[in-house]
Amino acid sequence: MASVVLSNAEKLYIVHGVQEDLRVDGRGCEDYRCAEVETDIVSNTSGSARVKLGHTDILVGVKAEMGTPKLEKPDEGYLEFSVDCSANAAPEFEGRGGEELGAEIANTLYRVFSSESSVDLKSLCINPRDHCWVLYVDVLLLECGGNVFDPVSIAVKAALFNTRIPKVRVLEDEEGSKEIELSDDPYDCIRLNVDNVPCIVTLSKIGSRHVVDATLQEEACSLASLLISVTSKGDLTSMKKLGKGSLDPESIFEMMETGKRVGKSLHIALQKTLDEEESLGASRQKVGFLG
């Protein structure tokens, strides 16, 4: 992860501030930075989203392609995640430096979406054992300003919400071979139900309290952080510990409770923004990258 060097006095100032629930930029321990979410910005994908959280900038594109189902789950489609940390995000991502972080984020996303109820994979099936939809989710890290996992999960949820998969019909020939017919209407498509898609909340332990959405400076002061994925109903789907330090079991419980609370309000705010965007429809002015 990109990091900044801080003097000991600055670290002490940050730690004391967190103890008193007043962070350097005036937020409380459970406040997120101002976030911007925009969907449908990349035209040649089935769905896309861009999330800007403070200085962190994430772009996600979802492409739906035809593939064969996995052997152990013949009547379901599946998701494939790939994460690319662009060299623009931080100097240490130059060349192959960003691959480690990219692999970590991709593995985390696999774990988060490993639960059965997150995405309805059966709806992605076309012909059991023969054809199914494979959703290739590509994440691009454009700028790293602390707290990478949270906006990645927000962007993935927004992109899945925005994904439009064309409807297909399966026709049986006389000999029994199956043909797949794509419907002619480009707007005739199926949308995914993202109500149960979880969002990641990262809680960093600073001093004896924990904060949500740490900036780069705050991450430099925290030794350990807990990453939990929460659905909109408040259920946890996965949990991961990051960092070199150790976490007390009691503090893990506290952090989980905080994460559930923050996650629920995050889902509500995100859903509201997505619905607002959706209601503007085709007349919406796209800001994109040149606005």
Binding site: S7, N8, A9, E10, L12, H16, G17, L22, D25, G26
Partner: protein
């Protein structure tokens, strides 16, 4: 005609987007987003990146790392003597990698690297506070860059774009000379002032307003009705900066 301009059809046109500086008939345009170009007598805030044999390398957002020679710092106790080998070994005890210092530019090397000195009691290692990094061209050149704002905090406007906000020290420690750092917890009221100032400075920078003590103060006063964390919202930011701009225009005209 000067740096950042060119002549086309008898008209002087700027080649970079930035601030105009006029000295008699010399018109220069300083770009908005540049690295810091050192000038003798500037106050800078820098971070130590390396501890070398007889000097420290300081990062000041310039093209090359600035240099702080061991002979340019005040020794603890204020003695005046030649630096010996023991002083070299004790360098790390005074300034380590990552520490922040305030210093003045003593001279510039031929390759453009800046040489700093802290030979005054007002410079030295910085203690608890908040650093804001902005573009160097947004810091206005003034008589003094150390300001004690009436709202309760002090600010150092480094010419290199590093702004240091810290709680106002109660009494001036004459003997320490910037060596010992105060590690006591800062009270909550001071913290609020510092956070509000930090957000105000970030707001002014996003709206590309020049930074000097009056603009920061007006922005602080304009932001008082809002909560500290709301200042960074785009709408609130525009509102506050607009009010600041109005007051500054009234001040001039």
């Amino acid at each position: 005609r000067g740096h950042g301009t060119y002549v086309e059809e008898e008209k002087l046109i700027a080649s970079v987007a930035g601030v105009v500086e006029r000295v008699n008939k010399l018109v220069c345009v300083k770009a908005l987003k540049t690295r810091y170009n050192g000038e003798v007598g500037d106050i800078v805030v820098g971070r130590i990146t390396e501890v070398q044999q007889k000097r420290w390398k300081v990062e000041t957002n310039a093209r090359l790392d600035s240099v702080l020679l061991l002979s340019s710092v005040n020794l603890p106790g204020g003695e005046l003597r030649r630096r010996s080998a023991e002083d070299e070994l004790a360098m790390r005890d005074y300034l380590q990698e990552g520490d922040l210092i305030s210093a003045e530019v003593q001279s510039i090397f031929s390759d453009g690297a800046v040489s700093l000195h802290t030979r005054s009691l007002k410079y030295g290692k910085l203690g608890q506070g908040v650093l804001v990094q902005v573009s160097p061209s947004l810091v206005k050149r003034q008589k003094t860059h150390f300001h004690d704002l009436p709202c309760g905090a002090s600010v150092i406007l480094g010419n290199n774009g590093f702004i240091w906000i810290y709680p106002t020290p109660e009494q001036k420690e004459e003997e320490a000379g910037g060596f010992t750092t105060n590690l006591e917890p800062v009270p909550l009221s001071d913290r609020e002032v510092i956070s509000r100032l930090r957000n105000c400075i970030v707001a002014l920078v996003t709206q590309k307003l020049m930074l000097f003590d009056t603009s920061i103060l007006y922005c602080y006063e304009a932001s008082l009705p809002h909560q500290i964390k709301d200042i960074l919202n785009p709408e609130v930011m525009e509102e506050i900066v607009l009010e600041t701009r109005q007051r500054l225009l009234n001040l001039e005209g």
